[in-house]
Each structure stands twice: as C-alpha cells, then as structure tokens.
C-alpha cells in the first residue's frame, strides 16, 4: 500500500484544545458540579512532629450543614500504610526503609500539614468552620527539620530508624581511587542544592461520586496518573476495576506534583463518598498546597573531580545526603536521577557515587520537573568550571574536551537509571550543540571584546555556558485505541493524562497523517479510564515518546484495515489506494472514492456473515513499550548583568540549543522549553522554601514564595539539532523537563563571572541564590 505522508508531523500546527481553554468552556476538576455535591475540608497538623493523644469532634456535631466528620478511628481496615508507588531499583547492597503514609494520621503526625481529620459539609465555608471546632490534643515531639543534623545517629527519629535513613545507595564504575592517583589535579567542594515547589496555578483537587444503586465510583481528579489512581483505588477500596472510572479532566499544570502519591486526600475523598453514598469535592487551597503536596528540596553533595593537566576527566566521586521528607512513597526516583545526572554528557571513566536519603519532618519529596537532575547537573558543571579555572583552561574548552563524541553511541554509563535499566544514551551530537550555542550567544566576541568594554564602563556583566543530558521517554509502556467513526472523524484514546502538553494536538497530528484526515478531525481523549484504562501516566518527559509511538502503531493498524477494506470494496489491490481528505481513492481512477466514514459503516455490518476472525470496525488498540529510555540533550547559555548595589541579576540574553530527536510539533516543543527555563530561573534566583527549626514553613504564600513573573523571564532564543532516537520508530525524545534542568549552573557561572571570580571573587556553590545571598557571598566567603 502507499505510504502515509507527513503533512502534519513536524509542523507547528495550532492546537485543538485552545478554543475551549480560551473561552472558559474547558472543564477542570473544580468546575464539576452535582446537585447532591458535598464539600470536604481537612484538618491538618500544626506540628511537624507530635503524638496525637486525643481527637474530640463532638463540638462539630450540632453545626448546621455538617454532614460527617471522620478520623483515623473511623477507617477500619482502610487505615493502613499506603502501597509503595515506585519500588527501589535492583542495585546491589541497596538499603531501602519503606515508610508510607496512612490515609489519616492516627498516633503520630510527621509534618506540618499532615491530615488528621476531615469534615464533610454542605459547602466548603461550613466545612472549614467546623474544622475550628475539632479539638486535637497533641504532645509535641523533637523535630528532625534540617537535613544534615537529621542524619546524625542521635537525631530525633521521624520513624523508627536511627539516623533517619530512608535509603542508602552506592553505584560505582571503574576505579576512582586509581583515577585520583593518576590525576594532576583533584578538586573537592561541598555543594548545596535546593529545588522548590512545582506550584501549578491549579492546585490539586478531587471529586468522587458513589452511585449506590450501580455500586459504581466515579472520580475526577487533577492528576497526572489517572490509570494508576484507578488501579490503586480498586485495590485499596476492594472494588472491581469495572466499578471505578477515573477521569483526569483538563488539568492546570502538574510538573510532578500531581503524580500518584497515594495522597491522603485522593484516598479519603473517594472512601468518604462511598460511606455517604454521595458526591464529594475537595479542592486544595494555595495555603494547603504549600504543606500538603509533594515538593523537591535539598541535597548536600561532597563531590570531587580528578582531572589531567589537559582537562580530561579521569574520575568523579560524590557522596550526598538527600532530604526525603516524612514518607517515601515514590521510592528513590529523585536521588537516583541526581546520581545519574552527575555524569552529564561527558566521558567519565571512573565514578563512585553514594547517597543517603534521610527522613525529615517535612512534606514528601517527590519529582518536580527535572526530578533531581538539577542537583546532579549543578555538581558536574560547577566542578568543571572550577577545574577549568585551576588548570587555566577556558570553561567552554574543558567541556569540548570531555563531551561524548558523536561516534560513541549508544553510550553505556555502567550504572543503573531510575527505570531499572542501565543508564545508556541512545544517540546524540553533543559537540555540535555546544558549538551552535556558542555561536548564537556570541561567546568568543563577548569574552574578547564586549565584556571588557562593558566592564570598563562599570557594568558588571558575565556569561555562563553549560551542557546537559536528560533521560526521557522511559517505559514501561503506554497504549492507544484508535477508531474511525461513521462521521469520518477519528477518535484516539490513551491512558496518560494531560496538563498542558498539547497532547490533543500532537497525537492528532500523528493520527491525521496516517489516516488522511485533518488535525481538527481527530478527537483525542487522555485520562479517562472508561475510554482507555491501561498505562502509567504523564511524567519523566515520556508522554509524547511512549504514548505518541503507541498512537502511531494503533493508527498504522487502522490504516491497514481501511486500505484492506477499501481494496475489497473496489476489488483492487491495496497498493493502488491512497487516503486523503478523509477519502480512499484508487490511483488509476481518481473519481472513484469512498470516505473512511462509509468504510467504518461497512466494517460494522448488522446482518449477513463475516469471515472467521474478523474484527468489527475500523479500530485498533496497540501498545508501545521501549526497551529503555531515550536521552535528549542540549546546552544553555546566558549573559547577565548584576547590579552591585542591589545584587539584582538581569538576564540580558538567553540561548537554548537542544536535541529532542524528531519533534512532532516544534511550536509545542519551544513552548515546553520556554516554560522549563522560566522554572529554572525561579529555582536559581527566586524560589526558596523556608523552614524553621521546628519544621514550620515560613513563606507559604505566593507573595512570599516568589514565582518568576513576566518581568523576570527574558526572551529565550532557541535552536534545534535533530538526532533521532534509536529507541522508538518515530525517533522522538522527550522535552518536558529539558528547559528546567541546567539553568542554575549557567546562572551561577554567569553571575560568578560578572562578580569577578577571575579576580578573586567568591565561588558560588549553592542554589537557590537571592540578592541577599549574593551580597553575603560577595562580602565574604562561601558559607
């Protein structure tokens, strides 16, 4: 048969989902309403660590509008530590102490914000009023707040583990000690890196409706993982999978915070709906979001690099502590990513990396866009900067000398990645990316000509250039069901959720090319388990890669069905047919055609006989599971100006050159990078969650925790290098997290340069920075 043509794949097609979003018609979880809807509010612990002596709810009972109050004692067998979402990878001698959360705290609370009770009332106002009438008798316990002290053997214990060890992992390749002995220079530093809160503009939320007569639970949740939530609820509530439907409607951003965590709220709201035989809604408010939703947080790296006189990396050693928060449902995804990211796009012959994940009395740490990679990229990029300075080599040149050459792929790193496979880079062209970046930012001329002139004018300007890789598109698998309707429209359903990634368009582009229709004739459903119930979800820059390839395979199968049926209809060979504008035409008789809608009717006969083995309809379901992930890469460069008086940093120019394989929609890819960079800038300079020694968050409003505004994010100049992935038929690599990952080391390098590191200024070994912190660093010392 004739091959499909790429009319849409690779083009900047405008989005199918925009019209409902622009007119206010799109349905988000808080937009759902039922006549019997009741509203939930949670009572949360004001203590970071305390024993619950007694909970008295009697004063709520006579309140108007209050329907029910639940505490842990009401939960029966439903009260149990939740399942582990992500198990630890099979690494030798790995220690993992699983401590997951219960739906409501019963005996001990372990972070400020942990839910201890919930009220169901006629509206949210009344529910919150009733919270004030619940009396909880707490006996405060010593708090493990700060990371390093919490790792001491005599630290207050969050659980029953001495030294609060959540996990210990060591991964080794080559012989670091030998590398160190052979090195001309060894550089050791301590790096502090904190990554903050995802802060999607829509908070979390869930609506659950129990239909007593049908014995059926419907759930609408602002989640990135509707299929996993479906499976988890079925298991924990003792329901058949056919008795639950989970829908992720339009979701207002996620960035990791809306992954399945077995959050207490996503368990309790469905459970209470079933108890009450009613419809319940809980929408997180922003104050809750700061304490109730997973975060990323700090790591402390003691790292060293062994290099030869000519700047070649001989080996790296890294020992780090990872703040895990109070529970570890998401296993080791974040610190394993950090561990792998230290290797970067460089040839590292020897690597010895070990970390301890430490329980602290703070909210759960789980992936937030980048998911620990930022911490690792900061370590390697800063070590290279310091090594270059010490060796008298240009910081760009030291990177050139160590980048993995283009003929070395697939490149095996000899350690294990978060997806339980060996960390392997499938393809890449790292040096051309770096050179292109330097060209666009004008590195040579800036350093040689412009910077000296600007400095002579008293301007404090600097440049930063860094490289990164990002493991994307990990398994296990996703699937898609594709169907041509009698109307001639195409329906694509997949299990992943969507939080702004443009899946309604990018998947439609894939389908439109294969099935000969327009992009706006393809309806895409994501995240409705009644439409498609299998898959893992949208995270780890995997949606377009894994689900996109599943859509491609399912559409290819439907295309074959269309052509075979049309060949039968026209009594010709399918080789002589083409599909265009929703019609199948024979190549030799262009006036002879049949629409795919008409074929869909023919494919579903209501009388007569069909051949044995016939599947009805123009429909196919296919799954795609890559052997391993695929590695995207890129380089970021920026020029900054620092105001010496206020220490405010202005980004004058920002360049990203990246390689995400074959892009489905370059407009969407660029948007993903813009947004990622903005979050990276926030991480580098604006966003710091402050906790005091008692584990209280000190800045839990958006007026105090600063998200970058339109005044803070510069224009980002972009260029693409395309090195197709070898791990999937479409050659796609993920791009969701790429923008966010390497911003901070580029920022630190540029600011250091601006403040005159070459003339004896301070090294920047920590993130996030702030004007205050830069002032302190400039005044004296790094600590």
């Amino acid at each position: 048969m004739t091959a499909a043509t790429n009319r849409y794949f690779g083009s900047p097609v405008l989005r199918n989902e925009d019209a409902p979003l622009l007119t206010g018609a799109a349905m988000f979880v808080d937009d759902i309403d039922f006549s019997d809807m009741l509203h939930v509010a949670f009572l949360r612990s004001p203590h970071a660590h305390a024993r619950i002596e007694k909970i008295d709810t009697t004063a709520t009972h006579d309140r108007d509008g209050v329907v029910a109050v639940f505490t842990a004692d009401d939960l029966g067998a439903f009260w149990a530590p939740s399942p582990l979402v992500v198990p630890p990878p099979p690494i030798e001698d790995l220690v993992f102490n699983q401590r997951t959360q219960t739906p409501l705290a019963r005996d001990v609370v372990r972070y400020v914000g942990e839910p201890v009770a919930l009220v169901v009332a006629e509206n949210r106002y009344l529910a919150e009023d009733a919270l004030d009438r619940i009396v909880v008798d707490y006996d405060p316990l010593p708090v493990a707040a700060e990371l390093e002290p919490s790792a001491q053997v005599d630290a207050p214990m969050v659980h029953d583990v001495r030294g609060n060890v959540a996990a210990e992992v060591r991964q080794v390749k080559g012989d670091y000690n030998l590398a160190k002995n052979n090195a001309d220079v060894v550089i050791a530093r301590r790096f502090l890196y904190e990554h903050g809160l995802a802060q999607p503009i829509e908070t979390r939320g869930i609506v659950a409706r129990w239909d007593t007569k049908a014995e059926h639970l419907s759930v609408w949740a602002a989640t990135q993982t509707p299929t996993s939530l479906h499976g988890g609820l079925a298991q924990l509530m003792g329901l058949g999978s056919h008795q639950i439907r989970v829908v992720a409607p339009f979701v207002g951003g996620g960035f990791g915070s809306k992954l399945l965590m077995y959050y207490p709220e996503e368990l309790m709201v469905p459970w209470a709906a079933r108890q009450l035989g009613s419809s319940l809604k809980w929408i997180e408010d922003r104050s809750e979001h700061f304490v109730a939703t997973s975060q990323e947080r700090g790591q402390i790296h003691d790292a060293e690099i062994a290099v030869s006189q000519d700047g070649k990396i001989l080996g790296l050693k890294d020992v780090f502590l990872h703040d895990n928060g109070a529970y570890n449902p998401y296993g080791l995804t974040v610190p394993i990513n950090s561990q792998c990211a230290v290797l970067g796009p460089y040839v590292v012959p020897a690597y010895d990396s070990s970390f301890k994940a430490i329980f602290t009395n703070k909210p759960i740490v789980a992936p937030f866009r980048g998911a620990g990679r930022q911490h690792g990229v900061f370590v390697i990029e800063r070590l290279l900067d310091i090594a270059a300075r010490q060796l008298g080599i240009d910081r760009v040149e030291i990177r050139r000398r160590n980048l993995i050459p283009s003929d070395a792929f697939p490149y095996k790193n000899g350690i294990m990645f978060q997806d339980f496979t060996e960390l392997q880079y499938d393809s890449g062209n790292y040096l051309p990316i770096l050179e292109r970046t330097l060209e666009i930012i004008g590195y040579e001329s800036f350093v040689r000509d412009e910077q000296p002139i600007l400095r002579a004018e008293g301007k404090c300007v600097g440049i930063g250039v860094v490289c990164y890789v990002e493991g994307t598109g990990i398994g296990p698998y996703e699937g898609a069901k594709v169907q041509v309707d009698p109307s001639g429209r195409v329906h694509v359903a997949t299990g992943i959720g969507t939080q702004g990634q443009s899946h309604f368009t990018s998947f439609a582009q894939i389908a439109a090319d294969l099935l000969g229709v327009a992009v706006d004739e393809v309806d895409v459903t994501t995240g409705d388990t009644d439409q498609f119930g299998w898959g893992a979800g949208t995270f780890a820059s995997r949606g377009a890669v894994v689900a996109g390839n599943a859509v491609h395979e399912a559409c290819s199968a439907v295309r074959e069905k269309i052509l075979n049926l049309a060949a039968e209809h026209f009594e010709c060979s399918s080789q002589q047919l083409s599909i265009e504008n929703g019609e199948v035409q024979t190549l030799d008789k262009p006036d002879q055609s049949i629409t795919i809608g008409e074929l869909a009717v023919l494919a579903n006969p209501m009388r007569g006989a069909v051949k044995p083995g016939t599947e009805p309809g123009l429909q196919a379901t296919r799954y795609f599971g890559p052997e391993a992930g695929t590695t995207a890469s890129g380089a970021h460069a920026m020029i900054v100006e620092v105001d010496r008086e206020t220490m405010m940093v202005k980004i004058l120019k920002y360049v990203v050159v990246h390689d995400c394989g074959t892009p489905i929609n370059p407009m969407v890819v660029e948007g993903q990078i813009h947004g990622g960079v903005a979050q990276g800038i926030g991480n580098a300079f604006y966003e710091k969650v402050m906790y005091d020694d008692a584990g209280q968050i000190m800045n839990a409003t958006l007026a105090d925790y600063l998200i970058p505004t339109s005044m803070d994010v510069p224009v980002i100049e972009l260029d693409h290098i395309e090195t197709p992935s070898t791990m999937n038929p479409l050659g796609i690599k993920g791009v969701g997290e790429a923008g966010a990952i390497p911003v901070a080391p580029a920022f630190a390098q540029a600011v250091e340069d601006a403040l005159g590191i070459a003339e004896g200024g301070s090294e920047i070994l920590e993130i996030p920075l702030s004007p205050n912190r830069l002032w302190e660093l400039a005044e004296g010392g790094t600590q």
Binding site: L14, R15, E17, D18, A19, L21, L22, T23, G24, A25, A26, M27, F28, D30, D31, D33, D64, Y125, A198, Q199, P200, I201, E202, T203, F250, V251, G252, G253, F255, I283, D285, R286, S287, Q499, G500, Q501, S502, M667, V668, E670, G671, Q672, H674, G675, G676, V677, A678, Q679, T701, L702, A703, I707, T709, S710, M711, V713, V715, I716, G739
Partner: protein, 162 residues
C-alpha cells in the same frame, strides 16, 4: 452564628442576576458556583496569582479579593463574555491561539481579562509595557514569551483597526 443574608444585584456579561448570599461569599465563588460561570479560575485566593481576574465596571479586579455584596450594582465581565455569541473568538483569544500563548490554560482567562482592559487603555503598547502589565498574572507553563507575543499581536490587530 451565620450572618444575615444579603441580596445582590449584578450584571454579568450583560445578563442581570439577583441572588441572596452570605456576606462572606467570595465573588470568585459566587461567579463560579452560584452563577456556574466556571471559566474564571481560582489559583491562590490571596490576590497574587491573578487567575481569577475579571472586569468590574471595565477595570480588572481579582475576584478572590472581593466579597459578593461588594459587586452589588456593578457590571462584571468574565472570560465567557469575550467571544461573540456566534462563537467567533475575540482578537485576544485568536492571538493567544495563533502564538501558542497558553499551555494548560488555567491562568489564561485571568490574563485575557487583564489584557482586555490593558489594551483598551494602551492601544499602542510596547513589549516593555505589556510585560509590566502582565506581571500581576502568574503563569507556570509558558515562561511568558508566547503570551507577550500574543498580546503584541492582539495590540497590532486591535490597535491597527481602531
């Protein structure tokens, strides 16, 4: 004890509403849940993110910072009032689509309403002025670049025709 209920009369997107509400009811909740106009989104409920921005007597206002009785006698416009009745998008909406000025779309209604009032006041706005006018609306997806581009396009289309 619950406070006494109050009667509120207001015009929303040209339609007259008269409702009896609790005085503490936030205007954002009134618009979304009492009137069912759920296009106005709530992001922070402390007046910072700008997602709930609506127009009150043609001026942008954060609906989460007003109590419903304060809207008594005032005219409100929400995102649902932007497009023509026949479904034709407002030039701002068109420009956001053309320039990929939205991703998840949650902050978008507030930005559209803020920009509608801004362009009316600044028909020849520059990029710098647009960035400043946008700085009260947080977006976590786009990095603002395409939002700025979209508003520039809308300014040229709207301003150019006036």
């Amino acid at each position: 004890m619950l406070e006494e209920l109050v009667t509120v009369s207001t015009v929303v997107n040209g339609k007259h509403y008269r409702r009896v509400v609790e005085p503490r009811l936030l205007l954002s909740d009134f618009i979304r849940h009492d009137l069912g106009l759920t296009g106005t989104h709530v992001g922070c409920e402390h007046g910072v993110c700008g997602a709930c921005t609506i127009l009150v007597d043609e001026k942008p206002v954060r609906a989460c910072l007003m109590f419903t009785p304060q809207a008594d006698g005032h005219a409100i416009e929400t995102v649902e009032g932007l497009a023509e009745e026949n479904g034709e998008l407002h030039p701002l909406q068109e420009a956001f689509r053309d320039k990929h000025g939205l991703q998840c779309g949650f902050c978008t209604p507030g930005i559209l309403m803020t920009m509608k009032a801004f362009i009316a006041q600044h028909p020849k706005a520059t990029e710098g002025e647009i960035r400043e006018a946008l700085s009260g609306n947080l977006c976590r997806c786009t990095g603002y670049q395409n939002i700025v581009e979209a508003v520039r396009l809308a300014v040229s289309r709207i301003g150019g025709s006036s």
